[in-house]
């Protein structure tokens, strides 16, 4: 789960990390009022989307009065922001953060994350905080220092000092830098984060570290022990359809084609998408049914596809397992078709447990499906059905 910037900052403040004074706002009027209550000389009005590159994409506006802050918010709210990290669809801006614009003497890059290949928590730090940090790293203009945490999360004092020196930090900043790393480490571990990234991290003229931006990602698999964070989840990030699918044990991602895809298992799903593209078809979605899904959950998934006007054919590619035999998938389709009264040419490729029984269930529901036991043929058929319907329009 990606926290919004203002949520990330609120979390860090609990651990003692300095962030600029600020308030989130849902409307331009609120943004203006928020600026007025801050009463400073310069304001930053920042679109709240879970991706970097906002500065370059005009998602951050610097202004000098509450009126201008309101106007800046009006310009951002309701717009779709596309940055190099959002993908082409971008994110709808539903909220802005209005905060005091801080003068930085110098800025750093600082992140805590899990290095999965080595199974350890690492601190990455760069002597220069910047949106262009990846390009600059590529061209050799900047560098990234790495410090791994010991098991249990201990930070070795000597290592921290050496890191501070490599970053070229003034000796009088070393102790506050060590304190900041300790805060981030604790926040990271206590909240099951997979990423905390401060970019830029300002060093002010007064010699304090202030996180001008903060990105926090929480491990979805650990949310069960963080009900407080779970409560922060709203539907601002994914579209509502994807959230609804999650609650039905479905991993659903919208795509821009015309073939609805239903599979059980991520790998099988990725293979199916690859095969559809190889056959010159275009998937309308990725939908992976989790092992824990019931036929009612599966019905919800099929309903999503039947309700999507872009879908011209449906391809079901499932390998029944012990806990989720094929007939659960068949029942799901049957229920969805009866409930919605809608149908599409549906190609099913069933293998594994209860494939035969699933065929019987289709008959019982009166579902007309195109039965293709061969995966390659099933894909070709689904592509043909979609393109046939496309031409007739």
């Amino acid at each position: 789960m990606n926290l919004q910037e203002f949520q990330s900052k609120m979390l860090l403040v609990r651990y003692g990390t300095d962030v600029p004074k600020g308030h989130p706002a849902l409307t331009a009027d609120d943004a203006q009022a928020a600026a007025r209550s801050l009463g400073v000389e310069r304001y930053a009005v920042k679109a709240q989307v879970p991706a970097g590159g906002r500065g370059r994409s005009k998602g951050v506006v610097l202004v000098s009065s509450p009126e201008e802050a309101g106007a800046a918010a009006r310009g951002l709210l309701g717009e779709t922001l596309v940055t190099e990290q959002t993908g082409p669809a971008g994110y709808l801006v539903r909220q802005v953060l209005v905060e005091e614009a801080i003068e930085a003497n110098r800025s750093l890059y600082l992140a805590v994350l899990v290095d999965t290949a080595r199974a350890e928590i690492v601190i990455l730090a760069g002597p220069e905080g910047s949106e262009d940090i990846e390009d600059k790293l590529q061209s050799g203009e900047t560098r990234i220092e790495r410090l791994a945490l010991a098991p249990g999360g201990a930070l070795n004092e000597t290592d921290v000092k050496a890191l501070a020196q490599r970053l070229g930090l003034d000796a009088k900043l070393h102790s506050s830098f060590a304190r900041l790393l300790g805060q981030l480490r604790t926040a990271f571990m206590e909240n099951d984060a997979t990423l905390i990234e401060l970019n830029p991290l300002a060093i002010t003229a007064a010699g304090t570290f202030v996180a001008l931006d903060a990105k926090i990602v929480i491990d979805d698999n650990a949310l069960f022990r963080h009900p407080d964070l779970m409560a922060l989840r709203d539907d601002w990030e994914d579209d509502g359809v994807e959230i609804a699918a999650q609650s039905h044990q479905l991993n659903y991602v919208r795509m821009d084609g015309d073939i609805g895809v239903v599979v059980n298992g991520a790998g099988l799903g990725l293979a199916t998408l690859d095969m559809i593209r190889a056959a010159n078809g275009r998937p309308a979605n990725f939908m992976d049914i989790r092992t824990t899904a019931t036929s009612i959950d599966v019905a919800h998934g099929f309903t999503l596809l039947l309700d999507n006007p872009a879908v011209r054919s449906i391809l079901v590619n499932v390998h029944g397992g012990g806990m989720q035999p094929c007939d659960i998938i068949a029942d799901g389709l049957g229920i969805a078709m009866r409930r919605t009264g809608k149908a599409r040419p549906t190609v099913v490729r069933l293998a594994g447990n209860n494939a035969e029984y699933a065929r019987f269930r289709f008959q019982n529901f009166g579902c007309k499906v195109i039965d293709c036991p061969d995966m390659k043929e099933a894909v070709t058929r689904a592509v043909d059905e979609a393109s046939a319907r496309g031409e007739s329009r």
Binding site: T116, A266, G267, H319
Partner: protein, 293 residues
């Protein structure tokens, strides 16, 4: 012969009394696996599926002589269960649990460094040595005994590919689902090395997917070790929905290496034969074996 398991493998199930634990333990017994007991804290000295249940892995191991444990414990307690088995010096632990928190797995990997256990998973499909031993949730019926080793990061493609390999007339020495989670036990490369060292394995099928850098590490290993058997790989995710990014740090750790095209390039450069799609894995291996001969 097989890797990791054989006819002497004696298995206990941590979490045997749960719904999934019961279902799959029973299926394993039916397959002929020597399941010798279960572990469920608080249920010691009871019986389940006609087998003794113990409070701890250590007592189960001492009493039954088990040399493998299957972990079917919910995600909240899965890491603790794995660590308990590692501390009890269980030689083989196969963790089936999905959605184990990432930071918990850091602790598990740390415990592995101090122990002697080989951990498979979590989020593994298990291990299947046809006709000899099955640990886990793999579908059976599509497998047959033979000389192809299969190792897979993808849970759902494991049974699929096994069935495709059998359909091409090729049996398997062992199929291993190493697990698709970002942090897990036995790596792709380490599993591959076990197959290389197994005299009964004459060819290896790799099933990989986008994310992680395990395929790249395996490619580096194959490029330098030049194994004397054909290796066929299926890498899925060439047309996955575009991933949104959050911040820059991922790029600093893994670089741009872990997309499907990069993995395929690395493996091809190392001499691995790429199967374009799941239905081609069996025949690709068949052809490779003929050329080899």
């Amino acid at each position: 012969m097989s890797i990791l398991v054989n006819a002497d493998t004696r298995v206990i199930c941590q979490g045997m009394t749960g719904r999934a634990g019961t279902h799959y333990s029973a299926a394993m017994i039916e397959y002929g696996t020597r399941v010798v007991g279960g572990v469920r804290p608080g249920r010691g000295s009871s019986r389940h599926l006609g087998l003794p249940v113990f409070d701890t892995v250590a007592s189960a191991k001492a009493d039954t002589g088990a040399n493998a444990s299957m972990v079917f414990v919910p995600p909240e307690n899965a890491a603790a269960a794995m660590i308990e088995a590692i501390e009890a010096e269980m030689p083989l632990v196969v963790a089936l649990t999905e959605r184990v928190p990432l930071q918990d797995m850091i602790r598990v990997r740390d415990a592995l460094k101090h122990g002697t256990t080989t951990l498979i998973g979590p989020n593994s499909q298990g291990i299947l040595a046809p006709g000899v031993c099955k640990i886990g949730v793999m579908a059976t019926g599509g497998e047959r005994s033979g000389h192809i080793g299969i190792l897979s990061r993808s849970a759902s493609l494991t049974s699929e590919v096994t069935a495709q390999v059998s359909a091409a007339g090729l049996g398997q020495s062992t199929t291993v689902g190493i697990g698709g989670d970002a942090i897990h036990g036995l790596s792709m490369r380490a599993c591959f090395e076990l197959f290389l060292a197994d005299p009964e394995t004459h060819g290896v099928v790799i099933v990989g997917e986008i994310g992680s850098i395990e395929e790249e590490e395996l490619a580096d290993f194959i490029a330098t070790s030049r194994p004397d058997m054909p290796v066929v790989a299926l890498i899925v995710g060439r047309h996955a929905p575009e991933r949104r990014r959050m911040g820059h740090s991922g790029a600093f750790i893994e670089g741009a290496r872990n997309d499907a095209a990069g993995k395929i390039r690395a493996l091809e450069n190392a001499g691995v034969i790429i199967a374009e799609s799941p239905h081609l894995v069996g025949e690709t291996m068949q052809r490779a074996l003929l050329i080899e001969a």
